[in-house]
């Protein structure tokens, strides 16, 4: 099924068959007048538009080319100015650099020369069932130890290495 635009274009160009054109004109009564106007316009254009041949075509072409070469190429100059790397790459590089700079300055990080700087061991609660046993927590920089007191001594003859 052709659209109206397709049928209208074909009608003006005279590509519709007689029967199709007749049906289309019946559907759109104003078409005949429009086609007449269109034919008239085509005829006037054909009569009055005459192609002019240049007597100095080579000179005209050379002038035109000269104008084109004089026009500065914005893209090329920018590329040359940025060492041939596109804007997008420089933008990405800048964003990564800014990200790294922000990470280094804003994110807290441990001292890599100090192995205990990232150490976290906070004892929240300790309980002992035996009333004779007590536990104390001692925290120093980079180390936490729970010290148990009141424990029975492990027999010396017990071999804990095997």
């Amino acid at each position: 099924m052709k659209t109206f635009e397709e049928r209208y274009t074909a009608y003006l160009d005279g590509l519709l068959s007689e029967s199709e054109a007749a049906i289309f004109e019946q559907e759109q009564p104003a078409l005949a007048a429009q086609k007449a106007e269109w034919s008239k316009l085509q005829r006037v254009l054909r009569e009055h538009l005459i192609s002019v041949e240049l007597t100095n075509a080579d000179f005209f072409n050379s002038q035109l080319l000269q104008q084109i070469t004089k026009t500065p190429s914005r893209g090329r100059s920018l590329v040359a100015g940025w060492f041939g790397i596109p804007w997008l790459a420089w933008g990405g590089l800048g964003a990564v650099t800014a990200g790294v700079a922000l990470f280094v300055t804003l994110i807290p990080h441990g001292d890599l020369s100090d192995p205990g700087s990232g150490y976290v061991a906070d004892v929240l609660k300790t309980t002992t069932i035996d009333p004779n046993v007590s536990a104390t927590v001692e925290s120093r920089k980079g180390i936490t130890i729970i010290k148990l007191e009141g424990l029975e001594k492990v027999p010396a003859d017990e071999d804990l290495t095997r």
Partner: protein
């Protein structure tokens, strides 16, 4: 049209809330992690130092600090072990002399911290139960009973 917009808004908001709930849940959910432990012997016996095992590589950096804190001149390794702690299934690291560390809970906290609950046993006798907030690779030391001319120390550390 307005109905579709409000439905989209509703779905988007619902999705956001779901994602938020999931992230909160994931942040404090029980986790499956490996926990490593070792039994150390701190003493002033220099002769034993020559034949005994060195400090495990995982806690070698704590050697000097531990000696200073315990007041002993040398620390030797008697044994070490590793276990996987899964939700709702306590697991243990057992050393010689039936000294064992039972890990009853391990929960991930915000900021890559772990809430660890452990018990130290000597034979069937529970010595201590402790709850600690630790990070991966930070050992918690427990100074235990006396043995021979020194003292036993247990180190426990979340490793993976």
């Amino acid at each position: 049209m307005a109905g579709i917009c409000s439905l989209r808004t509703f779905l988007f908001g619902g999705g956001l809330l779901f994602a938020l709930a999931c992230s909160i849940q994931a942040g404090e959910a029980p986790v499956v992690e490996s926990v490593w432990g070792c039994l150390l012997y701190a003493s002033n016996d220099r002769s034993a130092e020559k034949v005994a095992t060195q400090m495990p590589a995982r806690i070698r950096d704590y050697d000097e600090r531990l000696e200073k804190l315990l007041g002993y001149a040398s620390i030797q390794t008697l044994g070490q072990g590793e276990t996987v702690v899964a939700p709702d299934s306590p697991s243990s690291i057992v050393f010689h002399g039936n000294i064992r560390v039972e890990l009853t809970g391990l929960t991930r906290q915000p900021g890559e911290h772990f809430l660890v609950v452990l018990r130290l046993f000597q034979k069937d006798h529970q010595l201590i139960e402790t709850q600690a907030n630790v990070t991966r690779g930070s050992p918690l030391f427990i100074r235990g009973p006396l043995w021979r001319s020194g003292q036993l120390v247990v180190a426990v550390m979340v490793v993976s």
